[in-house]
């Protein structure tokens, strides 16, 4: 588990001056609103999609720095979306967090195969989520 202290929060805020864009893909409006509130206050720009197909479309056509995606959704689930996104030129390396009620080892393994970066079991803790995002974005920018 990741704990967060005052310095971490400052670090997170500093990171977000670059206004990273985060795509939130979840069929529940409640979760999208919760995530938007959490990510807005951390300084990120938030895009939303309500299923995997719409998420894939947004991620394909817009500049996205990180994706937070649920698994069980109508039309296209989150794992299918990530699998499809990995085949899109220049989009294959977008970090993706899976945020789901699913927690079984077999499902986590599937997530890993689909290229997910991290896994969070709902309900999420905002401070842990934002710290994880800051960590991954910093790493991605360092690599770039």
């Amino acid at each position: 588990m990741i704990a967060m202290n005052h310095d971490d929060r400052e670090h997170t805020r500093g990171m977000n001056c670059m206004s990273a864009k985060i795509l939130v893909v979840d069929d529940s409006a409640t979760i999208r609103h919760q995530l938007r509130a959490c990510l807005d206050s951390a300084g990120y720009v938030v895009l939303e999609a309500e299923n995997g197909a719409l998420g894939l479309e947004r991620a394909t056509h817009e500049a996205v720095d990180l994706i937070i995606v649920d698994i069980n959704m109508p039309v296209m689930n989150g794992l299918e979306m990530l699998e499809a996104l990995r085949t899109v030129p220049r989009k294959g390396s977008i970090p993706a967090f899976i945020l789901s009620t699913e927690s079984s080892k077999s499902m986590v393994e599937r997530g890993k195969k689909c290229g997910a970066t991290a896994w969070i079991v709902k309900p999420f803790k905002p401070e842990i989520l934002t710290k994880g995002i800051a960590h991954v974005l910093a790493k991605a920018r360092g690599a770039a």
Partner: protein
Amino acid sequence: MVLHFLVPEVECGGGPGTESVMTYVPQRLLVEVTARSLIELDKLNEASSHPFELATESTVTAGGRWATSPDVTAFVVDDSVGEADAAELFRRLQQDGNGVPFVYVSREPAVLSCFGPFLPDLLLRPPINYDVLIARLDELLSAAAFGDVMVDVATKGIVATMARAFIPSAEVHMLRYRACQRPVHEINATIPLCGEAISGHLSVSAPADMLRRLYHRMVPRKAPPSDRMLEDLVGEMSNQLLGGLKGVLTMGGIDFALGIPMMYTGLNCPVRYRSRSGSLLLYIRGNDRADEVAVDLALDSVRKGYDESNEADARETGELAFL
């Protein structure tokens, strides 16, 4: 179609001085839909009891003809007919059938999403002999699922998630069993669960006023929620509570897939799921007594006991794991 008539029961009526009457007792009928049976029918003679007649159909079209038959006790459909065809038959039975159990036999770990939003009543993996099938069906049809351990584990999983995600300091203030599946409050979400060792439904209902307060606590700066948002909130609540239950049951060796929440609004509206069991009804409250949610858990089948030895593998909700 192949019909196997299994040990018809015969009652002999009458007594001394009266004419003896032979009465045929109708047996229960099992419709098996398969292109290549995964049930070890060749071992029928070794089965300890033969309470069913068996009708075997090789296509879902033929199987579907039994949809409205009052004689059918259960449909047993396997993946040799194709997952998509099995799902199509399942949907047809949902619409036209008499609500008899649908048993899906799958050689591979089944994804089950093609069946959505409802799920099969029972999921079996081969090899299945007839004794196992009969035992599972009997269990499904009699549904004596709620032992003390299951009640403890279910309560623990549900209340812990409720406290983490929705109502701080949530606790059960009343618990009872009931036969009725009507929602206690006016906004309800019902979500099916199905696995090799368990099947059933979890149903969550809450009053609209309480949900508005809850939404404002969760998303403080947002505009007042619409009725649709309140339904979404209850749907998400059912999803997360069932996820929490799945978390603790998986630790005990009982895994299952979650279906998609179905929404019902209005007091006393009938909830469209069938259950052969009584259900466990938990009234959960926080410090504010007005914050009350009713969670109704109906389990139609629990094949094995909860194994507490695996609890160390627990993953906390909210924890972030890098892959």
